[in-house]
């Protein structure tokens, strides 16, 4: 009996939008991910469909990411970014005229970027709609996540906040895709049993936990991570497969560290003369990534060799073959042990494929083709599809857990970021106070209440404490938390005192314009 492999890609970015600046460094997170991950993924889906393959992947598109992808302002900025980049690629073609290996790469980038521009135009800048079409045609299952990707266990002692994060996400999903989401990606796979009531209310049928979330469930799961369990409310919990993770993520032996792959950090934005690149940098006056990178990882020494695209593609093919062989061995072994078809769940951050690991899309493509065409030991499926076919599963309560370092909440609650929580606690309670005090507000007060909800949601994003911990952009993360909390507090004070500053509100509504129809009553 064949087994099942669920490839789940979790696409998420925090809401970053700065119309008050001509160029803004952190908006590059979005532009880079669109160029190197989301559009290539769409192109893969397109090719698979036209080749008659149906790998049935699962894709999370978080509410903050969808909001940005659908925002006309950011769409226009992305196009400007892409055009800039193509212009830079043209300059590079000229500059590397006499250096054959670099010139070949410059040609490669120029061609690629042109293809991305064409693809963006072909879907009329609507990437969310394009992914939605693949869901409608049955090729993709799109799931939601919490509204601003908050770490839900740390909100769990304020149930209205928990409820709001999930219901706002569900509402947003409806506006993007026309129906209700069936599955939810718990941010960072962070689960605690008090989430269940809220998931049940939204009729969310399944989620993913890290391996130990299932393995430590009470009572003990009979099939380890190779089958989902139903929580007492009937929601299915799927456990991440450790093998699939290690092969791809592992710092010691994972694929992305192969010396043939492109080095993420050797970017011409840092390597070349500042005056030459400055018009193409993500933020004025500071060096940053352009996306044009000429070197491969090579090894541990600082001297890097030129990126050899063919060798890198060969590496991707080897790794896809290796991953497939590992799965075949795994499924064959499981077939000897288990009395039901095993389910292996392989979730990854989508941005791994293409952005952090440039050859990731090639790996995915080769893997999917091999899985669909070269074997019959397992089939690719989605958790939702699995539940339709296998509605009988063991009942157990998953253990509180996350896929973050340490397995619980250490990444988001440590000396670098603990200062956030006391402020969030107070703000959350104040939001409930406001929601209860103003059940029928006048129009201006209602706008204020909705904006208070937006500010609170944005302050609750788990990205900020994460960034404070990993240190990639700590000043920005700190500023975001502060600003949203300060704006929230000001709205609270104005509503409490009955003195509303409409001019100031307009400014804030213009800047933090996520979730236009947010229902502040979820906090009541």
């Amino acid at each position: 009996m064949p087994g099942y492999l669920a490839l789940i890609l979790h696409a998420h970015l925090p809401f970053v939008r700065h119309p008050e600046h001509e160029r803004f460094l952190e908006e590059n997170w979005l532009f880079e991910a669109v160029t190197e991950t989301y559009i290539p993924l769409l192109q893969l889906l397109e090719r698979w469909r036209s080749d008659g393959l149906n790998p049935r992947l699962t894709l999370t598109l978080t509410p903050t990411l969808c909001s940005m992808l659908r925002d006309p302002f950011l769409q226009a900025r992305y196009e400007r970014h892409l055009n800039d980049l193509i212009e830079l690629a043209e300059k590079e073609l000229q500059r590397t005229n006499w250096e054959k290996p670099f010139h070949e790469l410059a040609l490669f980038y120029h061609g690629r970027l042109g293809g991305v521009r064409d693809a963006y135009a072909a879907c009329r800048r609507d990437l969310v709609g394009a992914f939605g079409e693949f869901q409608e045609s049955g090729h993709l299952e799109i799931i939601t996540s919490a509204a601003t990707h908050a770490l839900l266990p740390l909100l769990a002692d304020h149930p209205p906040s928990l409820r709001a994060q999930v219901l706002v996400a569900r509402d947003h999903y409806r506006s993007c895709f026309g129906g209700d989401p069936r599955g939810i990606w718990l941010p960072e796979c962070a689960y605690v049993d008090s989430l269940e009531g809220v998931l049940q209310e939204s009729n969310l049928r399944w989620f993913v936990t890290d391996s130990h979330g299932i393995l430590h469930a009470r009572p003990r799961p009979r099939y380890a991570t190779f089958a989902p369990i139903f929580t007492p409310n009937g929601i299915a919990a799927f456990g991440r497969d450790p093998d699939c993770s290690r092969q791809v993520w592992s710092r010691h032996s994972g694929y992305p560290g192969d010396p043939r792959y492109r080095d993420f950090y050797r970017d011409i934005g840092f390597d070349l003369d500042f005056d030459y690149v400055k018009a193409h940098l993500p933020a004025p006056g500071q060096r940053g990534f352009t996306g044009i990178k000429y070197y491969r990882i090579t090894g541990s020494s600082p001297t890097k060799e030129v990126y050899d695209r063919q060798a890198a593609t060969r590496a991707a093919d080897e790794h896809a073959r290796h991953f497939l062989d590992a799965r075949l061995a795994q499924f064959r072994r499981l077939a000897e042990i288990l009395d039901r078809p095993p389910m292996v769940v392989a979730p990854y951050d989508a941005e791994l494929f293409g952005h952090w690991w440039y050859e990731g899309p090639e790996f995915l493509d080769l893997l999917v083709r091999k899985a669909c065409c070269d074997q019959k030991v397992f089939e690719l499926t989605t958790p939702g599809e699995f539940l339709r076919r296998h509605p009988t599963n063991q009942v157990a309560t998953p253990a509180a857990s996350s896929w973050g370092e340490g397995g619980y909440w250490r990444v988001w609650l440590n000396e670098k970021n603990e200062w956030i929580y006391p402020h969030l606690r107070v703000a959350q309670e104040r939001m409930t106070e406001l929601a209860r005090r103003f059940p029928q507000p006048d129009p201006l007060s209602e706008r204020m209440l909705k904006q208070a909800a937006r500010e609170l949601l944005l302050a609750q994003a788990s990205d900020w404490p994460f960034i404070l911990r990993t240190g990639t952009s700590p000043d920005y993360a700190r500023k975001r938390v502060k600003e949203h909390l300060l704006r929230f507090t000001r709205i609270y004070e104005q509503l409490t005192a009955g003195r509303l500053d409409e001019e100031w509100l307009k400014q804030v509504e213009w800047r933090d314009n996520i979730f236009p129809d947010v229902d502040y009553r979820y906090w009541a």
């Binding site: 993770s245 560290g257 950090y265 003369d273 072994r333 509180a400």
Partner: protein, 406 residues
């Protein structure tokens, strides 16, 4: 239908308990797990020991050498991004003065406590305290008073990370102080927090349910029926042996991975530096035996070992060529066949990297009326090296020469 256990603990449980036992015996090396963190530093005693309390080092990154490898989540460059934004005026309040004690479980053995006292409220209580600082008492609610764990906190702290013995346990915290005569005065008590589990359950009862996908969860209670699955082995006599063998096999497939040598999380994929087959040891990181929940190097420690600097004296060079010129602003100029943009005053410059060999480039200008002028330049580069000379990357700003006026 409960399955009978043929032995008190299955191999899977034993392996995991052993793993957690190992983790408990060996203190974790990363600063974030230092048990000493709650001891803090008392002002009077601090003078002779100038080390910062380990908790303050938690999560600190050492300065990273130039990075390499695949990307890292949110990375904008090889080092932390500078702030583009303007100086901020307002600050968040230091405290709200609600007097509430917040308690959160962070993982199976760590709690986080925060008390919302304003500085003057805190000073007031400190003054009343015989120790001149406050004390946190942490215990499961049913524990006898004398078993309560006490943590003496720094006079200016308003939060603390507390190590606790038991996973999967409900804890409550109380903030207070001692008056003279060791009389306890309570300031505030927290709601309970439950530490997560870290072991496999010993409860092996198995219950199945059938949940039809098309039925809403809210209607489920009426419709879902516990089901006896038909796939279970039917022979009762063979059941324990089959189960034990199956458990051992599953343990091999899964249990091994719970004693993880590396933590696999989204933050860490960018920290892969080494290719396959290379030994990876870093002085800054220690691979810990992981408890069942898995734990390993800190995500903020550097990527593998810092990159090797070349030993001894080093020298790198490179060469670029700059071509520049001027013409009428409405002319069209091409360099090597490619059009090049003119500045408003009709000047232009462009830069080529100049490798070894012979190179030819043609510059041409066509006036608005169609008049063509051309120049073919020939260059050659030959380099003789003595000793090891590297290739420099272009990080020195080179000013293109000013265009001369015609």
């Amino acid at each position: 239908m409960p399955l009978e256990r043929e032995q008190p603990t299955s191999p899977l449980v034993a392996r995991l308990e052993e793993a957690s036992g190992v983790a408990r015996v060996e203190p974790a090396k990363a600063p974030s797990d230092a048990v000493a963190e709650e001891s803090g530093e008392m002002p009077g005693q601090a003078a002779s020991v100038l080390k910062p309390p380990p908790i303050l080092l938690e999560g600190d990154e050492t300065s990273s050498a130039s990075k390499s490898g695949p990307g890292q989540k949110y990375a904008l460059g090889p080092w932390a991004a500078g702030v583009q934004v303007a100086h901020e005026e307002a600050a968040l309040p230091e405290a709200y003065g609600t007097g509430k004690l917040l308690l959160a479980a962070r993982d199976p053995h760590w709690l986080y406590a925060h008390w919302d006292l304003t500085p003057s409220q805190q000073r007031h209580y400190n003054a009343l305290s015989v120790d001149h600082h406050l004390v946190l008492r942490v215990s499961p609610p049913t524990v006898m008073e004398r078993s309560v764990r006490e943590v003496h906190v720094h006079p200016e702290s308003r939060h603390w990370f507390i190590h606790v013995e038991r996973a999967e346990t409900r804890y409550v915290a109380e903030l207070g102080y001692y008056r003279p005569g060791r009389e306890w005065v309570s300031i505030t008590t927290s709601p309970p927090a439950v530490t997560p589990a870290e072991t496999i359950s010993t409860d092996q009862t198995v219950r199945f349910a059938t949940v039809p996908a098309h039925v809403r969860l809210s209607q489920l209670a009426a419709l879902a029926k516990p089901t006896v699955p038909t796939e279970l082995p039917t022979s009762a006599a063979s059941l324990p042996a089959v189960e034990a063998a199956r458990e051992r096999a599953l343990a091999e497939l899964v249990g091994l991975h719970l004693v993880r040598e590396e933590w696999i999380s989204s933050a860490e994929v960018g920290e892969v530096v080494r290719g396959r087959g290379e030994q990876e040891v870093s002085g800054a990181q220690v691979v810990q035996p992981a408890p069942a929940g898995g734990e390993a190097e800190s995500v903020t420690s550097p990527l593998g070992a810092p990159e090797q600097r070349p030993r001894g004296f080093w020298f790198s060079i490179n060469a670029d060529l700059i071509l520049y010129g001027t013409t009428e602003p409405d002319a069209t100029v091409t360099v090597g066949g490619r059009p090049i943009e003119l500045r408003p005053d009709g000047t232009f410059s462009c830069r080529f990297s100049l490798p070894e060999g012979e190179h030819v480039v043609t510059l041409s200008a066509v006036s608005a009326q169609g008049d063509l002028r051309q120049a073919e330049l020939r260059f050659s580069r030959e380099t003789d090296y003595q000793g090891e000379v590297g290739v420099a990357s272009q990080d020195q700003p080179l000013e293109p020469p000013e265009a001369e006026s015609p």
